[in-house]
Amino acid sequence: MTRGISWPALWLGIIGFGILYVPVTVMVIYSFNSSRLVSVWAGFSTKWYGELLENDAVLEALGKSLWVAVNAATLSTVFGVLIALAFVRLGNFRFRLLLSALASMPLVMPEVVTGLSLLLLFIAMEGLLGWPAGRGIDTIIIAHTTFGMCFAAVVVQSRLRDFDMSIEEAAADLGARQPYIFFSITLPVIAPAVIAAWLLAFTLSFDDLVIASFVSGPGSSTLPIVVFSKVRLGVTPEINALATIMILLVAASVVIASAIIYRNSAGRKAAAATGGSGHES
């Protein structure tokens, strides 16, 4: 094996990253364009960001999106942890494989299908139970939770799988009982995965357009819906500015999530590597 640079691989890498990030970069640059015409550069300006701050419809949508994302992420994480616990702890129960396949189905389900089926469910429920009355913020939160928790479960499960069960037994041996053991031992140890799962679910919810358009009602448009309806009337630098802000938010949470996961696994590796070798003080 030579450790030299493999040129074809390097080029493929550059092209890959280019495809990913050139359009985004162009958009970010044009959000600072002082001209109203999207394709003509007329000098640097931050006026679109200023205008955005005065646009009440956009600010309201941003507020709704954040509210939905925070709630959906929290619910997704709670359910995701429960699903993960069930799969890791209950051993080999009947239909385990089938159930775990079913649990990860929403990961690959076309969003249109998910959105449509949820819409039908909500309508049917409204007819039968009188709840949810119409569609709005609540239905979006529920919809986002249904797929967010599958992602959360996958993230938490991988951490829970190499969780050393004997530390829970040690806690029980020292006089603790459930749920105290869960909150004092299990949760702190899997906390990095839980936080990562929350951030992931937050991002997914904040980004989502398709499912939200199915299950939103009048007056409950989230930011992606507002952006999309604006784009249909033509791309403006204002939209570019809005999209740039969204990218920033999403990128920040993805970076934080990866940093937590990376730092945690690096820390565990380091701990394993120093195991046994002494460092007396």
Binding site: I167, A170, A171, D173, G175, A176, R177, A191, S281
Partner: protein
């Protein structure tokens, strides 16, 4: 209530599917004992310990601790603490918090917890390390944190599952003495699991040797070594040479045994003329010299193999009929040079040192 033992394990069985991990096992342990469970890998030691701690259910039989039946008592309320094979320290907590965890659960006042943690850290010689996390400690230090944590609630019974397995030889020997010391000072009953027979001998006041879920023999280390009940025990604890024969006569407390090597042995009772017997002799109980001494139990042998180990030399010699004897000679005799490879000499042993096995 006097006379009833501190721990009474009666006819306990535990199965995992087809595997009988613990098989109809009964054992009594007294208060303040340091009891060692010794046995090969997979013989059910951990399973027995986990049943005592309450993590494993008992299929049949019963466990009593301090006169109380444990079948309905959950791990959290048993007067028992366990030190796990892998220590199972809480990775997100400091050494202090690890040790204090059980004390907080017991609802002790804060000042008392603090003073006990300090005292325990001193006991396991980790003073000043209370602020560290487990991953900042060496293997030996972690093991001592685990010990301190298990001792914190002052359990009546402490279970230790291969407590020293992860330590290197030197540290292990030091820690063995520390462990005995701590046990004597606290007067807690200890049950220590190990598969290292030397460790068991060093630590224990009594040893129970397990095989396939059963206790084969329970005795003091000396009795176990000098008077093994059967060839499994004799072979498991140290080196031994086996001899076969048939009892010719049993008279005056002595047995005359016929075989490739005729043997005179002290009769432990229960043998009669015509019985087939199997005997064991420890290597250090056999002497080897060039000249015949003319006593009983002397055979002419040829040195097949010899290994110098420092304090002693280990020999393998062949006697009549190709019977192999293993023997150890201390390297302290001056004057007479030690026997060498392929030399012939005389091996002899005392009738009292012949162990008659009941297989």
């Amino acid at each position: 209530m006097t006379g009833s033992p501190f721990i009474r394990i009666s006819n306990v069985t535990r199965r995992f599917g087809d595997v009988v991990a613990v098989d109809d096992l009964s054992l009594d342990i007294d208060k303040g004992e340091l009891f060692c469970l010794l046995g090969a890998s997979g013989c059910g030691k951990t399973t027995l310990l986990r049943m005592l701690a309450g993590f494993e259910s008992v299929d049949s039989g019963s466990i009593e601790i301090d006169g109380i039946d444990m079948s309905r008592v959950p791990p959290a309320t048993r007067p028992v603490n366990i030190m796990f094979q892998n220590y199972a320290l809480f990775p997100h907590m400091t050494v202090d918090s690890n040790i204090a965890y059980g004390l907080k659960r017991a609802g002790l006042p804060r000042a008392e917890i603090e003073s006990r943690v300090t005292e325990l850290l001193r006991l396991v010689r980790l003073s000043g390390m209370g602020g560290r996390k487990p991953h900042q400690l060496s293997g030996g230090q972690r093991q001592r944190v685990a010990l301190a944590r298990a001792l914190a609630r002052r359990p009546k019974l402490l279970l230790l599952d291969e407590p020293l397995a992860a330590l290197d030889k030197k540290l292990r020997e030091d820690t063995q003495f520390e462990l005995v010391d701590i046990q004597e000072r606290l007067e807690t009953t200890f049950i220590v699991v190990t598969h290292d027979q030397e460790e068991a001998m060093t630590l224990a006041s009594r040893i129970g040797v397990m095989d396939a879920g059963k206790l084969v023999q329970v005795d003091s280390p000396r009795t176990l070594y000098d008077r093994p009940k059967n060839s499994f025990i004799a072979d498991f604890l140290g080196t031994v040479s086996f001899l076969e024969g048939k009892v010719k006569s049993a008279k005056g407390g002595m047995l005359q045994i016929d075989g490739p090597i005729p043997v005179t042995a002290v009769d432990p009772g229960g043998f009669a003329a015509g019985d087939d017997v199997r005997m064991a002799i420890r290597p250090e109980k056999i002497s080897l010299s060039r000249e015949s001494g003319g006593g009983v139990n002397e055979v002419k042998v040829m040195v097949e193999d010899m290994a110098f180990t420092g304090v002693a030399s280990n020999y393998r010699v062949a006697g009549p009929g190709g019977v192999l004897l293993k023997l150890t000679q201390p390297n302290m005799r001056r004057g007479e040079p030690a026997l060498e490879w392929e030399e012939t000499g005389y091996a002899a042993f005392d009738p009292a040192d012949v162990v008659l096995l009941r297989d």
